[in-house]
C-alpha cells in the first residue's frame, strides 16, 4: 500500500486500507533513513577507487588473492556447522518450552537468553577460563585440548546464535490449534507421523527463518573469531583488518557487500519457493494445550537443564572470577574489582539502561509494524520492505556504525542533529537487531489465520478493532519477547556503537571494552557482571508489572 495508491483512490478509500498505508509509511520512512541510505554509502564506497574515480578495481584486487578464497571457504563452512547445531538445539529447546509440561519453563527461557545479555567479553573469557589451554577442563583432566581455531569459534557462535534460533522457533511453537493434532490422533497416526505431518509443517516459516538468521549472523560476526579464532580467518575479520588495521574503507566495503550475498540468495529462494504456509490458528480456534507426558516432560527437563547448565557455566565462571584477586593465580575473595578506575564509573550503565529501554519500545513498534504490513499486503513495496527488514542481519556492526557516521555526520543532512546524542545510539541498536525482531514478529503473525480479519470484517469490525481485540492479545507474548530482546542486545552491543558514542554519552558495554583494553580484565568481568544484574532486575520488574496488571502470558520469553 503506497502513498501513490492512496492519493489515486482518495474518495473510495476504505479505513482499513488507510490504516495499512499509514502503518506502512510509518515503518518505511525510518527504514529508508536509518538503514537503506546509510548502507547505500557503503555500497558506493566499494566502487570508489582513489579520489573521485569509480570502478571494479576493489573487487578484482580482493578476489585475486588466494587468501580471500580460503577465507570465503572458512566463513561458509563455519556458518553451516553453526547453523545446523544451533537450529537443532534451539528447535528442541523451543519444543520443550512450548509443547511440554516440564517444570521451570520460565527460568529456562530466561537462562537460554543469557548469552543475549552477557557482554561478549564475558562469554569469550568464560570459554577461555573453561576450555583454554590453561582452562579448568584441561587442568582437571590433564589434557591439552586446543580451543583456538574453528571449533572454538563454533562453540562461541553456537552460544551466540542458539538463543536467537530459540526465540523465533518459540514464537512458531507458541500458537497452535489443537484440532489437527486431535484429528491425526483419532485417525491413528503415530507420534512420529504427527510430528512430521502436523507439527513440522505448522512451524515451517519459523524454521526457515531461524536457519536463515543463524547462518547470516554467524557469517557476519567478527567478535568470536577475533578472540577465540586463533589462525582461523573469516570474512568479517577481514573487514576489521582492512578498516581498523589498515584504514582502508573501500576494500572493507567490498567485503561488507559480499557478505550481503547470502541474504539476497535466501530472499530469492524464499520468493521462489513461496513463503506462505497454512495459518495454524483458524478463526474458531481451540488452542493446543500441551498434555502431561511423563516420559517427554522428563526428557525435556533433562535436556533443558543440560543446555542452560552449560550456558550458565560459561557466565558463572567469569562472575566468580570478578570476585577473586587474580584468576587463576590468587583465588582469594575481593570486592576491589568493583571499584572501576576508568572514566565515568557507573554513569555509562545508566545511559545504557535509558538507551535500551528506548530501543525496546521503538524496536517493538517498528518491527511489528513492518511484519504486519508485510503479512497483510503483497506488492512490490511490501516485498522490498520485507527484504530490507531482514537485511540488517547481514550487516556487521562495524559496517553499520561507520555507515551511520558517513550518513549522519554530514552537515547537509538535517538529521545531523542526532549525531553524538543518545538517539543515534538507540536508533542504531534498533536497526542493528531489526531482522531478529522482524522475523520473530513475522513468525507469530504467520501462525494467525487471515480468516480472523475476514470474520471480523463480516461482523462489521474494522481492522483496528481486529488488531486490538484479536491480533494483539495473541501476539502479546511475542511482543514482550521482542521488546526484551531489543533491551538485552542494546545493553551489550559494541561493534557499531563504538563509532557513535561521544565523550559525553558513553555506554556500559564500551566501559567493559575500555577496562579490558587497559588490561584490567577482572574489572571488565566485574562491569559485565553488573550489566547482567541490571538486565535480570529489569526482567523481574517487567514480570512484576505483568502480575500487577494481571496480564497472563505463556512465558516471558515467548
Amino acid at each position: 500500500m503506497s502513498a501513490i495508491s492512496l492519493s489515486k483512490r482518495k474518495f473510495s478509500i476504505h479505513p482499513d486500507k488507510l490504516l495499512l498505508s499509514t502503518l506502512g509509511l510509518l515503518v518505511i520512512v525510518p527504514l529508508l533513513l536509518f538503514l537503506v541510505f546509510p548502507i547505500l554509502i557503503v555500497f558506493l564506497k566499494s566502487f570508489q577507487v582513489g579520489d573521485g574515480m569509480w570502478g571494479l578495481a576493489n573487487y578484482t584486487s580482493t578476489m585475486v588473492e588466494a587468501h580471500f578464497w580460503i577465507v570465503v571457504g572458512n566463513s561458509l563452512w563455519l556458518s553451516v556447522i553453526v547453523t545446523v547445531i544451533s537450529v537443532i538445539l534451539g528447535f528442541i529447546f523451543a519444543y520443550a518450552i512450548q509443547r511440554s509440561q516440564m517444570p521451570g519453563k520460565q527460568f529456562f527461557s530466561i537462562m537460554a537468553m543469557l548469552p543475549m545479555f552477557a557482554p561478549s567479553l564475558l562469554q569469550a573469557l568464560g570459554l577461555v577460563f573453561l576450555l583454554g589451554r590453561n582452562g579448568i577442563i584441561n587442568r582437571w583432566l590433564g589434557l591439552d585440548i586446543e580451543i583456538y581455531g574453528l571449533w572454538g569459534v563454533v562453540i562461541a557462535d553456537v552460544i551466540y546464535a542458539f538463543p536467537q534460533a530459540f526465540m523465533i522457533l518459540s514464537a512458531a511453537f507458541a500458537v497452535a490449534d489443537s484440532r489437527p493434532y486431535e484429528a491425526a490422533r483419532m485417525l491413528g497416526a503415530s507420534k512420529r507421523q504427527i510430528f512430521f505431518d502436523v507439527t513440522l509443517p505448522s512451524i515451517k516459516f519459523g524454521l526457515i527463518s531461524s536457519i536463515f538468521l543463524v547462518f547470516t549472523v554467524t557469517i557476519t560476526d567478527f567478535g568470536n573469531p577475533m578472540v577465540i579464532g586463533g589462525n582461523f580467518s573469516v570474512l568479517a575479520t577481514e573487514i576489521y583488518n582492512q578498516v581498523s588495521g589498515q584504514m582502508n574503507f573501500n576494500l572493507g566495503s567490498v567485503i561488507a557487500i559480499i557478505l550481503l550475498i547470502p541474504v539476497v540468495v535466501a530472499f530469492g529462494i524464499e520468493r521462489f519457493a513461496g513463503r506462505k504456509q497454512a495459518a495454524f490458528i483458524p478463526d474458531n480456534v481451540s488452542p493446543l494445550v500441551p498434555v502431561k507426558n511423563k516420559m517427554l516432560d522428563s526428557c525435556m527437563f533433562i535436556y533443558s537443564t543440560v543446555i542452560c547448565g552449560l550456558i550458565l557455566l560459561v557466565a558463572a565462571i567469569v562472575v566468580y572470577a570478578s570476585f577473586v584477586k587474580l584468576w587463576p593465580y590468587n583465588m582469594s575473595f575481593t570486592l576491589d574489582n568493583y571499584k572501576f578506575d576508568s572514566q565515568g564509573g557507573y554513569a555509562p550503565l545508566l545511559t545504557s539502561v535509558i538507551v535500551s529501554l528506548m530501543a525496546a519500545v521503538i524496536g517493538v513498534v517498528l518491527v511489528f509494524g513492518s511484519a504486519y504490513v508485510v503479512n497483510k499486503t503483497k506488492n512490490i513495496i511490501t516485498d522490498l520492505l520485507n527484504f530490507f527488514s531482514i537485511l540488517p542481519a547481514a550487516i556487521p556492526g562495524m559496517v553499520l556504525g561507520l555507515a551511520y557516521i558517513f550518513f549522519f555526520n554530514d552537515t547537509s543532512n538535517p538529521l545531523n542533529i542526532i549525531y553524538g546524542t543518545v538517539f543515534i545510539l538507540t536508533i542504531n541498536s534498533v536497526y542493528h537487531y531489526y531482522a531478529q525482531g522482524f522475523l520473530t514478529a513475522s513468525t507469530s503473525l504467520q501462525q494467525i489465520s487471515s480468516n480472523f480479519d475476514e470474520t471480523s470484517a463480516c461482523l462489521g469490525a474494522s481492522l483496528l478493532t481486529t488488531i486490538k481485540r484479536v491480533t494483539l492479545p495473541i501476539l502479546l507474548p511475542s511482543i514482550l519477547s521482542v521488546g526484551v530482546f531489543f533491551f538485552m542486545r542494546t545493553m551489550v552491543t559494541l561493534a557499531a556503537v563504538i563509532f557513535l558514542v561521544s565523550p559525553k554519552v558513553n555506554l556500559a558495554a564500551v566501559s567493559v571494552m575500555l577496562l579490558d583494553d587497559a588490561g584490567n580484565t577482572t574489572q571488565a568481568a566485574a562491569y559485565s557482571t553488573l550489566i547482567i544484574l541490571v538486565v535480570l532486575v529489569a526482567l523481574l520488574f517487567l514480570n512484576l508489572i505483568l502480575k500487577i496488571f494481571k496480564i497472563k502470558t505463556k512465558s516471558l520469553i515467548s
Partner: protein
C-alpha cells in the same frame, strides 16, 4: 558522605543531559580530544590537566588505535574533535590523516629530538610504547622451557606452539614487530626468520595486547606484545616476566596533533602545550615506557619490571616513514607467506 551527594549530582546531570540529548556542538572553553592512551592513564592525566587548565572543559573519547583511525577518517567531512592525543605515529603520518592537521609548534616541542616530531610541525610525540615479550614463568617452569632473551631464541623448537603474537593485518603492534624484524635483518633474511618463527607460533591473534593477556593467564608461555601491558600485569601480580629482546625492541610513538577544523583552537593549543609541560611529564614517568621529553626517567616501578633507566639503549631505531610506506606491500607478502 560528600562523595555520595556528589555522585547523586552527577547522576542528575547525566539524566537531564541524556533526556535533552546532548548538543553535538562543543561550547567555548570546551574541547573534544580523541585518544588511544589507555583509559586509566587518561583518568589520571585529566585529574592534573583539569587542575592546570581550570578554564577548559576537556572531553576525551578513547578508542583503540585502529578503531579510532576508522572513526577519524569516517568523520572526516565534519570532524568532531579538536585534538588527537597519544595516537600511533604510524597512523598519524597516513596522508589521509595528515591533510586534516594544522601545523602547531607546541610549547616545549623544540626540546624534542627531531625524530619525535613532524618536520612540518603537524604532530609531536611526548611518549611511546615499545615491543616486549611477556613470559609466563609459571608455565615456563611447568613445561621446563628456558627463558628466551631474543627473537632468535624463539626459533628453538622447544617453544613449538607456546608462542603467540599479534596479526600484523589487524594490529599496529603486530606490524611494528615484523617491521622492526624486516628492517633490522634486511627483507630477505627477515622473511626467512619470520617463516622459521612461524613453525613455532601457536597463533597470530587479532590485537596487540591479547598475546600478553593470554600469556599472563597461562594459555601460552611467551607472548610478543608491548611493555605497558607487561608492566601492568606484573604489578597486578601475574607470574610474568618482561623480556626486551636483545636485538632491540620495536617501538611506536604516541603522537598528538591539532585538527585544522577545530573551532576552539586557542584552548586546543593550551591543551597541547600542557601535554609537554613538566606536570604532564611527571605523570608519564608513572605509566610510560618511552618518554621523549629529555631528562625524564621511567619510574622505579617500571624499572623494577625490567625497564632500563635509559630506554634508548634497548630500542631498535625504526624508520617510521619507511615502515608506513611499505605497509600494504609487507602485509600482502605476510598474508601470502604466513597467514593460514
Amino acid at each position: 558522605m560528600s562523595k555520595i551527594s556528589e555522585y547523586k549530582k552527577h547522576l542528575l546531570v547525566l539524566i537531564l543531559g541524556v533526556m535533552v540529548g546532548f548538543g553535538p556542538l562543543a561550547n567555548a572553553g570546551e574541547i573534544t580530544v580523541y585518544s588511544s592512551l589507555e583509559d586509566d592513564e587518561i583518568a589520571d592525566f585529566l585529574k592534573v590537566a583539569n587542575k592546570d587548565l581550570p578554564d577548559i572543559k576537556i572531553n576525551v573519547l578513547r578508542l583503540s588505535t585502529g578503531d579510532l583511525g576508522a572513526r577519524i577518517l569516517a568523520e572526516k567531512s565534519n570532524p568532531k574533535h579538536d585534538v588527537i592525543w597519544g595516537w600511533a605515529a604510524t597512523n598519524m603520518i597516513n596522508p589521509q590523516i595528515m591533510e586534516m592537521l594544522e601545523p602547531y609548534k607546541a610549547k616545549g616541542s623544540d626540546k624534542l629530538a627531531s625524530k619525535f616530531k613532524d618536520a612540518g610541525n603537524k604532530w609531536f610525540a611526548a611518549t611511546g610504547y615499545m615491543a616486549a615479550f611477556c613470559v609466563n614463568t609459571d608455565r615456563l617452569t611447568k613445561k621446563g622451557l628456558p627463558m628466551p632473551t631474543s627473537w632468535e631464541d624463539l626459533l628453538n623448537p622447544v617453544y613449538k606452539g607456546e608462542l603467540i603474537m599479534p596479526n600484523p593485518n589487524s594490529s599496529g603492534t603486530g606490524y611494528l614487530q615484523i617491521a622492526s624484524i624486516l628492517q633490522s635483518r634486511g627483507e630477505e633474511k627477515g622473511w626467512e626468520y619470520l617463516e622459521a618463527l612461524d613453525s613455532n607460533m601457536g597463533q597470530y591473534i587479532k590485537s596487540g595486547s591479547k598475546p600478553c593477556k593470554l600469556t599472563r593467564s597461562g594459555e601460552y608461555s611467551v607472548g610478543a606484545s608491548f611493555a605497558f601491558i607487561a608492566m601492568k600485569s606484573i604489578k597486578e601480580g601475574y607470574p610474568l616476566k618482561m623480556v626486551l629482546p636483545s636485538e632491540g625492541s620495536g617501538f611506536e610513538l604516541e603522537a598528538s596533533a591539532l585538527m585544522a577544523s577545530s573551532k576552539n583552537k586557542a584552548d586546543a593549543k593550551k591543551f597541547l602545550d600542557w601535554t609537554l609541560s613538566p606536570a604532564a611529564a611527571k605523570l608519564y614517568a608513572k605509566f610510560k615506557a618511552i618518554i621523549t621529553i629529555p631528562g625524564i626517567e621511567p619510574s622505579p616501578e617500571a624499572q623494577a619490571s625490567g625497564l632500563p633507566a635509559d630506554v634508548s639503549t634497548v630500542l631498535f631505531d625504526l624508520d617510521f616513514a619507511e615502515s608506513a610506506k611499505n605497509r600494504s606491500r609487507i602485509l600482502k607478502t605476510w598474508r601470502e607467506k604466513l597467514e593460514r
